[in-house]
Point group: C2
Chain length 345, copies 2
């Protein structure tokens, strides 16, 4: 039985959707959820529900972090639901933690309380995105804004390990997001990272351009957090804007309304495929534990899916795999350095 700590007070529709998501997640799985937050509010909501078979419990937290609160002050408060949820993992009382609340605070607190893995300079946010051929992993999606080449290289290793764990893949294609396919195209950080990655033991397929990521040309797309966050949000916004523009055009055509009714099941199925809530939040890679950041607008379904992904990643001990993967890199680099040292001496 895996125990998942959920910050019940985080997110735009908290605590309702979090509680509903938790109940849905435990109903057909070997998962227990600990809801952390305002005990009174949560219990009031829970008492109307009878179908969670004792697999949902509550841990009281008087305080909570608001969505737009300043991170540096918010993380100092001791009794917030987010902090208490993460502490459950630290104390070994839960296998993973998730929150749809203030993402900056979630990142900072996870880092602070759980610590980072050896050989990791900076933890990264990894998101699963839909594309023509299934999905790809994009990282960093917003944890680090000014990155050096060595950070991008670490992201590549972490993304590789995550893809293998999440999709049971054996040799995911790893690419650097840049502005041209040749290794000479890009900014200083990507050009240097390209040189390091092409000699790595990853299945590095080189640079990928923005136009190709949604066609499934790579399984792991690596970039700094500034670029990654913009790509993530451009994707979200553009998909929504395009559907609105298309609907407006359809309304302007005489046969459009009838046609729209006929293609509506297709649009519904399409929306489901590009809907972020199907993919269960973003995993924080590089920290010593399993921590998932959910979209602020998460629905109950999104929370349910995120809980399941959290349980799976905790079960597969993704953080241990990443640690091992980076350990190998470190050893490789060291032996390479010794060889270089011998050659130069």
């Amino acid at each position: 039985m895996l125990k998942i700590a959920l910050d019940a007070m985080g997110g735009d529709f908290a605590p309702e959707v979090n509680i509903l998501g938790a109940i849905e997640a435990v109903s057909d799985s070997e998962i227990e959820v600990i809801l952390v937050g305002d005990e009174k509010k949560i219990n009031e909501f829970l008492k109307e529900k009878k179908d969670f078979k004792g697999k949902v419990s509550v841990l009281n937290a008087e305080d909570q972090i608001l969505m737009d609160e300043n991170v540096s002050t918010a993380i100092r408060r001791k009794n917030t639901s987010m902090r208490k949820a993460i502490e459950l993992v630290k104390e070994g009382k839960a296998n993973a933690v998730l929150s749809a609340g203030n993402s900056g605070a979630m990142m900072a607190l996870s880092f602070l309380l759980l610590g980072k893995l050896p050989n990791v300079d900076r933890p990264a946010i990894a998101t699963v995105m839909p594309c023509l051929k299934g999905h790809f992993i994009l990282l960093d999606a917003g944890a680090n804004v000014d990155c050096k080449a060595e950070h991008l290289v670490q992201f590549a290793y972490m993304g590789d390990a995550y893809h293998k764990a999440l999709f049971n893949s054996s040799n995911p294609r790893v690419a650097l997001l840049s502005i041209g396919e040749e290794g000479t195209k890009g900014n200083e950080a990507t050009k240097e990272a390209f040189r390091i990655l092409k000699d790595s033991n990853l299945n590095f397929i080189g640079n990928i351009e923005g136009k190709d990521i949604f066609f499934g040309s790579a399984d792991v797309v690596v970039c700094d957090g500034f670029v990654g966050n913009i790509v993530l949000k451009v994707g979200e916004g553009l998909a929504e804007a395009l559907m609105k523009m298309l609907k407006r055009e359809i309304a302007d055509v005489i046969t459009g309304r009838l046609g729209y009714i006929m293609i509506k099941p297709a649009i519904k199925s399409f929306r489901k495929k590009v809907d972020y809530s199907e993919y269960g939040g973003a995993l924080l890679l590089g920290i010593n534990g399993t921590s998932i950041i959910c979209h602020g607008r998460s629905s109950a379904k999104a929370i349910k899916n995120a809980i399941k992904v959290a349980a799976e990643m905790a079960k597969k001990e993704i953080y241990r795999r990443i640690s091992e993967s980076l350990q190998n890199t470190e050893e490789m680099n060291e032996s390479q350095n010794s060889i270089n040292g011998l050659l130069c001496s």
Copy 2:
């Protein structure tokens, strides 16, 4: 009568689409086009066409720059069609130049031969992009990969002047592309640029997030060339991928095919609105002349539209406006510095 120099040999479908685009552009306007390239090939194509009323002429160039050629060697050759076309502007024999060829070479040669404007450190590529409420200008779309705050500030001024010239607007809303609306969110360069821009005389509306650009929340969106190029190409790729995914879903639904026929005029009109070829290429801002870089896959229609935009920008002397706008900034900064000097002394 405005004279436009066109690199007839540039682009994936050269010279045919370039010649056709030129003929279409001159047919209903006060524009003359000088086709620069392989005289024999061009004339062979031209002789079958009779409807250009002597407004299309040819200048021979024996050599041409290939699409994927190394820029630094390509720009040294003296007889390329691209170089000769730009020289026409330098010599005052044409009012503007355009090419759908190697964009790196077009940028470097325009910069080299025409020179940059005073007060500009780096020229930028400005593209017009469709959104829910019309269009917005994105810059830099790929000229500068590693930017400092002062470069972003110059882009903001250049984009403002371009928007005013292109859309006859009086006070375009200028925004910085970043990862949060607050000025404290972003990377080092955007945070510093935010501080400078909020005290500028531009209509600076602050940061804009990736999800909002396609909803028309800003008229001018400023970012470095690495980010801008990725956003441009993510937009292009995602729109294409989404339409493919939607079509696949429609084909899977029983009533889908009939529905699709009924909404087809809407899809056509939609495609036209999001089609890059409607917006006539990207203008190189900050150089001493009018130079337009067209998409390598430009159709005849795209070339025609680009020629018309080139003529309009030449007529409005956009580069002089930018120069004046940046001159004002310089003077403002100087007087601000004098005031600061007085206060500190």
